[in-house]
Symmetry: C2
Subunit: 127 residues, 2 copies
DNA sequence: TGCACATCTGCAGAACTCTTCATATATCGA
DNA sequence: TCGATATATGAAGAGTTCTGCAGATGTGCA
């Protein structure tokens, strides 16, 4: 057991050093965690999955997710602030679209994974 | 503007129906959101990125993330409960490893994305 | 202009999350 | 067996997040 510069016990200082060298910077970690965090709420996730196919207006998104229109609007505002979705306004309606290629990749991967899981465990599918 | 069975206003009922048909079940959405949620905390994310290269013990993980050993242990417990990581005990040490192929894919994708972003915006890299 | 509709926003309460502190458990070496 | 080490755990407090409510904004129609 060794001690590092800050007097912390280390079991494998070389591995720690190489992991630290490869580790993205704090800001990148924070940004990435933010993105995952946005996907980490089931209602927001459902909202985003709904948008995979193309733009939808707020009331349709509310109907799909089962959220109130207010909650939907709040959620979309958050996603908009992080540039994950974009808006197109047409008269009284606001049409939201998925506007982040990275998030789209993550969603595609996740949805593909649930479908794969269903294939293995069909009993877990919805009735 | 039309009304659906629950008396909700819909702008594009056909799109809503097709999105609903394609939508994963509530349980799959919840499971997926859970996974994203686990990745949505910067310290847990750093922990998991550190484990991409192989197993590490608790004190090394604490040193890498800058967390206290207690906080590290709590975080690992949560990840363990969701079967994202696994443990190997060797004497007094506990070596944790990434144990979920789906999470590994998500992490690889995310890390690749931050590297790509750095290539475009090198000024955002750490000092 | 006035009213209805679609969406947005600030606020406040409820619920959840993360960390620390204190303590518990388990292992190793003397 | 005893003390030190490594990790795990429970409880509690600070901070954050999400939702509903109430009201604001902006658009379309008569």
């Amino acid at each position: 057991m060794q001690l590092d510069a800050c007097n912390v016990r280390l079991v494998d200082p070389e591995r720690v050093a190489s992991v630290n060298a490869r580790m993205p910077g704090e800001e990148d970690i924070a940004d990435t965690a933010d993105v995952f965090g946005l996907l980490g709420d089931p209602r927001r996730l459902k909202l985003l999955v709904a948008l995979l196919d193309g733009e939808l207006c707020v009331c349709d998104l509310a109907a799909i997710t089962g959220l109130s229109e207010s909650a939907t609007s709040h959620a979309l505002r958050l996603l908009r602030a992080h540039r994950v979705v974009g808006v197109r306004r047409d008269g009284r309606n606001a049409f939201y679209r998925l506007d982040d290629a990275h998030v789209r990749m993550l969603l595609d991967l996740a949805v593909a994974h649930t479908e794969h899981t269903d294939a293995i465990h069909p009993e877990r599918s919805e009735a």
